[in-house]
């Protein structure tokens, strides 16, 4: 995308942020310290389709806004950092084309490790205890793993259903 297209960049990040919020709030499974959701599906889709900057901003802002809306405001800063880094990392791994199976696997592993370890470290440090944070590692790994698989599937489906999407990444 042209560097001068500021309005288009703002529009892309805005809509993708809203998409992450909706995906986060569509399916919510309550757990001991919050809920499981489809946010990782949206984040992985964005990272696979749109580039690192869009992925970082939309993932971070989208999950933080979803936390604020749903009454888990204390998690908003942690979600911003963890999911922002998740989006950025996946997008950087899958940036180089053509995309090999090895890099897709690497992106999925990066996604799982970032989410599970990120939430574990930050919530143990700032919000809860090591024991409580550790209990959330398995569900976070499942959520991130499912997110990586379905995010990649969605990315392929969207590129077929709506080809102009390729022009929106930078």
């Amino acid at each position: 995308m042209n560097k001068e297209k500021h309005a288009l960049k703002v529009a892309v990040v805005t809509v993708l942020t809203a998409v992450v919020v909706v995906f986060t709030l569509v399916i919510r499974i309550p757990t001991t310290k919050g809920y499981l959701n489809l946010c990782d599906v949206a984040i992985c889709f964005i990272a696979f389709t749109f580039g690192p900057i869009s992925a970082f901003l939309a993932a971070g802002l989208g999950t933080a806004i979803a936390d604020l809306i749903s009454g888990y405001a204390q998690w908003a800063p942690i979600s911003f950092v963890v999911h922002g880094i998740e989006g950025l990392l996946i997008a950087l791994i899958v940036r180089k084309q053509p995309l090999s199976k090895m890099r897709i696997l690497l992106a999925a592993i990066g996604c799982i490790l970032t989410v599970s370890l990120g939430y574990f470290v930050l919530s143990a440090l700032f919000i809860s205890t090591v024991a409580v944070a550790a209990a959330e590692i398995p569900p976070n790994m499942i959520q991130a793993g499912v997110g990586a698989v379905f995010g990649f599937a969605l990315s392929k489906a969207i590129k077929r259903a709506y080809p102009p999407v390729s022009a929106l990444s930078w």
């Binding site: 809203a18 989208g62 709506y162």
Partner: protein, 255 residues
């Protein structure tokens, strides 16, 4: 889909300047991690709860507590067993189940967690989102960032409605087939719905970009603003209060 976190009421916190409120929030979030006595931490929680009760009201206090209750239960049940040193409170034969230090530590962590939760949710319950964004801009949040957040809030209901309609139409086409599916099948059946919803959302990007350009975004002359924080006339006093309460309470309750 409800995206508004603001709960309309008339308490003193509603009249507090949003800029001072953010300053107060940051100071208090730091305060709960300072080396203060357990009694001090308890007093601070009581002060926060009293503020919540007298501003958004009891319903807010209850709903916020309900949302964090599972985690508090988990914390109370499992965290004390990590601390093995100190005076034994509960023992089974020779095995120490709970120590005094463990119980005190979990109490401190639970109070801290509840305090953080109420502090964070109180800001958004007592301040409308446009005023939070104006206050953040006062703290030098870039214009582009506040524009994205504001626009995202208007797009969330649009995308959520689109998703609900598409999900409903997919369900009608499948005529009860989804009822027989197991969990994985149900998630897999979401793919066509999510794809259609995403295409709908992505199609709105060029329109939004065009409307931003038509409104002068990216040009030298900035857009007109009709909303500001000038109605808050006690900014200095509010900042003073925000600074004094954490400092005085730290001096009083320092461990």
């Amino acid at each position: 889909m409800t995206v508004n976190t603001y709960l309309s009421n008339t308490g003193w916190l509603y009249r507090f300047d949003p800029r001072a409120k953010i300053f107060f929030l940051v100071l208090l979030l730091g305060w709960v991690f300072l080396p203060v006595t357990l009694a001090g931490l308890g007093c601070m929680l009581l002060l926060i709860l009293f503020t919540a009760l007298s501003n958004p009201g009891p319903r807010f206090v209850l709903s916020t507590f309900t949302s964090i209750l599972p985690m508090i239960i988990f914390m109370v049940l499992f965290a004390p067993f990590n601390v093995r040193s100190g005076t034994a409170l509960i023992t089974i034969h020779s095995f120490v189940l709970l120590t005094e230090e463990g119980a005190l530590q979990v109490l401190r962590l639970a109070i801290r967690f509840i305090s953080i939760t109420y502090l964070a949710t109180l800001l958004f319950a007592t301040t409308p989102m446009p005023e939070i964004l104006l206050a953040l801009q006062w703290y030098r949040l870039p214009y582009k960032a506040s524009l994205i957040i504001t626009l995202a809030f208007t797009y969330i209901p649009f995308i959520a409605d689109g998703f609900a309609q598409i999900e409903e139409s997919h369900r009608l086409r499948e005529a009860g087939a989804h009822l027989e599916r197991k969990r994985i099948g149900k998630i897999r059946s979401l793919i066509p719905t999510l794809t259609s919803s995403l295409v709908l959302a992505l199609r709105s990007i060029p329109t939004l970009a065009l409307s931003l350009e038509l409104r002068g975004y990216g040009r030298a002359n900035k857009r007109t603003r009709y909303h500001d924080l000038s109605s808050y006339r006690r900014t200095f006093t509010d900042f003073l209060i925000s600074g004094m309460i954490p400092v005085i309470s730290f001096l009083v309750f320092k461990a």
